[in-house]
Each structure stands twice: as C-alpha cells, then as structure tokens.
C-alpha cells in the first residue's frame, strides 16, 4: 500500500526521460549523433578487448608505417592507422584513448550535475541572503574564463605535487576530472537555480508549503521531478563541453601525461615537424576528437529540442 502511494513518482520521471529519448531518436541528425556516441562508448568500455595491441605503449612495430586501411576493399590491414615515430600502432592507441576521455568527461559531468543541481535547487528554493551570497560567488567564478581557470587549477594541483613530491601518473587524469567537476558545478547550479525559481512559484509548491512540508520534501519530491528535464539538457550540454575541454587540456599538455594514449596529447605530440613525417599519427586522433565532438553536439542538440517540444 505504501508503495502504491510513493513508488510511481520516480517512474513518472523516468517516463519523461524515456519520452525524451524516443523524441531524440526520431530526428535523423540526433539519431546519428546518438549512434556515434554509442559507438565511442563501446570503444571506451571494451577498448582493451577491441584494440589489436592492447598495450598503448607497445613500441614493437616498425616506425612511421603509413596506414594500411583500405576503405575501398574494406580491409584494415596490419596497422590501419599506421604507426608513429616510436613504432606504436595508432589504431590501437586511438581505440584505447576513448576510455579516458569518456571517463573524465562523463564522471566530471556527473559529479558537477549532481552537486550543482543540489546546490542550485537549494539556492533557488531558499532564496534570501544565502542565495544572494552564493550567487555572487558563482558570478565571480564565472568571470574567469573556463579554460583559464582549468589551467590555473591544474597548475596549482601540479604545484601541490611539486611541493609534496608524490606525483603519480595516474593522478593526472583525476586532476582534470576534478577540475571539470569544479568548473561546472557553478554553471549547473545556475541552471538548476533558475529552473527552481520558475517551479517554486507554482501553486503545487505553495500547497505543499501550507501543509507544512519540510524543505527537503519540497525540494526533492515536489520540485526535483519538474526540474529534471532542464537538468538532462544541461547535463548533455556540459558533457559536450567537457569532452571539448578534456581534449584541449590534453593538447596543451595539461591533461594526461605521455605515453598515455590521450587523443589531445597524441595530436600535440605529432604536430610541427613530426607532421610531415607521420601525418596520420596526428590526423586520426584529431579525426576521432572531431567525430566525438560532433556526435555529442548533435545528440545534445537533439535532447535540447526534444525537451523544448515536451514543454
């Protein structure tokens, strides 16, 4: 009986998300985008099994071999994307690189969406001086361009390591992850706040207030379900920016450290003079980044449209 009263609400919210996904798949561009993102996700999850040479730093091959990929004959060959100047298989490295970009961008987005929406909904519902103060801090933070803040934060954390002297290569990835989360929390909070302000004035929230409901009940049971569509749109947008940012930081040398198969890093390592020798070692990771960014953009644009239509 208890379940009859309370269990259907989350299902209702899921149904809304499901409707959104269906609307998404009905538009050709966003369906293509979603399919591509799905493909990259598979690479990210099962890259170790799919890559012919699962060790990213396997330098056992002949150096600077051109790509053997033959699209006309549908043949991959020994090194579909060629090998780089150190004799590493570019094809395997591109496949292996998918997992880190998804992990960093995805988890970073997830953390920022969860914490940011909690913060924003609290600010929006509570109002008053606390909202004002937090809002000003967010404004001040957002006055610093995202990439600059990211560079500074990564620099700081690296500096911290310089002090302590205990840098481990694995930490490099998590630094970017945390930086992404920290950067996007205020942005998500702002979106969640304004969505909450909109819902807060609805009469069903007032009906809950005159029942004497607690703040937590009103925020999570009354307001949250109506804010979720806006949060899903924002999450997809944040995810596409996060991918962008991870790639850019990697390229600038502030993300993963060599020899990790980070796409941005691979582009950076093979530009300039090396580009004339092994253009494929730059072009294929760049192509992977381009394809992923375009796919995520098409998908998130579709989510935005679908959510707008639902309103």
């Amino acid at each position: 009986m208890r379940s009859a009263v309370s269990d259907r609400q989350p299902r209702r919210a899921f149904a809304a998300i499901w409707r959104l996904l269906r609307a998404l798949l009905r538009q050709p561009q966003s369906a293509i985008g979603a399919a591509l993102v799905g493909f990259f996700l598979l690479l990210a999850l099962f890259g170790g099994a799919l890559a012919p040479h699962p060790n990213a730093n396997d330098q056992s091959h002949a150096v600077r071999q051109p790509p053997t990929l033959d699209l006309g004959a549908l043949q991959l060959g020994a090194h579909p994307f060629g090998t780089d100047r150190l004799g590493r298989d570019v094809y395997s490295r591109v496949i292996l690189g998918a997992s880190s970009i998804f992990r960093i961008a995805g988890l970073g987005t997830l953390i920022s969406v969860v914490l940011g929406s909690a913060l924003g909904m609290f600010m929006g519902y509570q109002g008053g001086w606390l909202d004002e103060a937090l809002g000003r801090i967010i404004d001040a933070l957002l006055a610093i361009p995202a990439l600059l803040l990211a560079l500074v934060l990564v620099g700081i954390i690296r500096n911290l390591d310089f002090e302590i002297g205990s840098w481990q290569a694995g930490l490099a990835d998590n630094v970017v992850l945390l930086v992404i989360a920290a950067l996007y929390i205020p942005i998500v909070a702002r979106v969640a706040r304004s969505a909450t302000l909109d819902i807060k004035t609805r009469e069903f929230v007032q009906a809950a207030e005159i029942r004497g409901e607690s703040r937590a009940y009103i925020i999570f049971r009354e307001i949250l379900p109506s804010v979720i569509p806006a949060l899903v749109v924002e999450a997809s947008l944040r995810f596409s920016y996060a991918i962008f940012l991870v790639a850019s930081l990697g390229f600038l040398g502030f993300g993963a450290r060599p020899p990790s198969p980070d796409w941005g890093l691979m582009v950076n390592e093979n530009r300039g003079g090396y580009y004339r020798l092994t253009p494929w070692a730059l072009e294929f990771p760049a192509l992977a980044i381009a394809a992923l960014v375009i796919a995520v953009n098409l998908m998130s644009d579709g989510i935005r449209r679908a959510a707008q239509k639902g309103e």
């Binding site: 561009q29 000003r136 801090i137 404004d139 001040a140 933070l141 957002l142 006055a143 610093i144 361009p145 995202a146 990439l147 600059l148 560079l151 500074v152 934060l153 990564v154 620099g155 700081i156 954390i157 500096n159 911290l160 310089f162 002090e163 302590i164 002297g165 962008f244 790639a247 850019s248 390229f251 600038l252 040398g253 502030f254 941005g264 582009v267 950076n268 530009r271 580009y275 253009p279 730059l282 760049a286 980044i289 381009a290 960014v293 375009i294 953009n297 098409l298 644009d301």
Partner: protein
Amino acid sequence: MLPFLRRRFVFFLFTYLLSSLMIFFLLRVLPGDPARVIAGGREATAEQVAEIRAALGLNAPLPQQYVAWLGDFLRGDWGETIAFRGAHNRELVLERARNSARLALVALLLSVPLSLALGVIAGLSENKLPDILISLLTLSVVSLPEFVTGLFLINTVALAGGGSPLADALGWWFPASSAVPANASFGEMLPALWLPAAAATLVLLAYISRLTRAGVIEELKREYVRAAALKGIPWRAVIWRHVLRNALLPTITVIAISISWLISGLVVIEFVFGFPGLGGLLITAIERRDLLLAQAIVMVTVTIILFANLFADMAYAALNPRVRLG
C-alpha cells in the same frame, strides 16, 4: 536607467573584488609556498625560502597580504617574472595582451556580422532547409576544438606542400605568427593575424549564431508580430522594424559574454599558432610555475571581461526602453 546602472556598477565592483579574492587565494594560498618555487623548488634550503618569504611579505596575515597585493595590482606593480628572468610582469603582460586584443578584435569583426547573419537567416527559416544547413554547420565544423581547426588551417593553408604557386602565395599572405616582431604595429601584424583570427572566428560563430537564432524564433512567436502583420505592412518591414529590433537586443549581452568564451579559445589558438599573446604566456607561466605572472594574467583577463559586461549592460540599458525608463 540610473537605478539600473547603479545596480550594475555596484555589482561590477563587487564581482571584481570577489574574483580578485578568488584569484589571490587560488594562486597564493592553495598551491603551497610560492617562496619555495621562487627559491628553486625542492632543492632550496630552508634559509633561502625564509628569505624570499620575508621579501615577498608572505609572513603577514592573509587579509593584509591580499590588500597589499590588490593595491600593488591596481597601481600597476605586478612584480618581476620568474619565467623570463629580469622582465617586469607588467610590460610583458601588457605587450602580450595588446597582441591578443588585436587578434580578438579581428576575430570579433569577422565573426559578429557573420554569425548574426547566419543566426537571423536560420531563425527566420526555422526547421526549413537553410536552418537545417546552418545548424548542421554550427553543430559540426564550427564547434570543433580550436586546436583541431587551427591545425587544419595551418596544415592546409599555411604549410600546404611546398613548391606549389598557390601555397607560396598563401604563405606570403599568411606568414607564421612567430615571424612577427614583438613590437610590430597593427598594420605590420595584420597578415599574421588572419589565420588565427579565422580559427577564433569559428569559436564564436556557433555560439553567437545559435543564440541569435533562438532570439529570432522567440520573437517571431510574440503576439505583436501578428499584430504588426495585420496592420498590412509588408512582411519585410515586420521583420526589420519589429522582429529584429527586439531579437537582436539581447545579442549585445551575448557578445559580451562570448568575450570570455573567446579568451578561452585564444589560449589554445595562440598555442597552436605560436602567436605571442596572453594565452601562450599563461601556459608558459603555469608550466614554469611563475605564480605572480599567472596571477597578473588572470587578473587582466577578468578585468577585461567584467568591463565588457559592464559596457554591454550600459548599451543594453541605453537601447532598451523597458530598462532605460524603469
């Protein structure tokens, strides 16, 4: 308008102080000890570190340090660089900022008219072919990371296989950024600006055109558009006199916000093209752990952005009767 502007100005000052506070704390308090960095890192002796601490005033209480630092910054005393021994931060930062500003100016002059036109065309033909093409363009090519488009431009235009007359001609038109002398005038620098500016244009194009499109579509749905059409004036006049006037007003704010966006993009573009701008300097500063320099750069950036926002607010207020008289 006055109460509005007063509010915006107070807001500007407040945000500025808060941002500077954050920059100060991020760069001075969190990362450990700048004195040790200056003294040479882990190898430095405790005496060396202590000496530098005293010289930098790092022994004072934090609020006092902050006030001293902000006062120094506002007076123009930004300290000496570590990354480039002997140079003063201020000269270095201002020179690079000037170069970046030139790049940004060219990028804005290229991208704003173009993206407004694209946005308006897309908005007026919502869900029809021009809109679909423009949205595909802005979602795909134009929203690629700057280093991808930048490298593409370098590799196809500037470095296109030597020897061909086309490439030679292009090479003459697009000299490498690094070939530009540090104190070049705007005119001398212009040839070196085209290519990075083209990359930066793409950064803004997607952003501004999509917001413009949304603005046009939203205005078209307003009731006054129908009312104007039913006055019997030509549709062209309805668009020019009524729709665009209201749809493009928020674009002023959008452009101001996009400056922050542009600065992020410029960091990468300058790095790709080896352009002697502020972004490249920041990367060097952080790589070489020159905190004072990094602080100065971020402060200058924030100053520019906040002023841009303030001007946008003022322009918006001057053009929008609801704010002007409200």
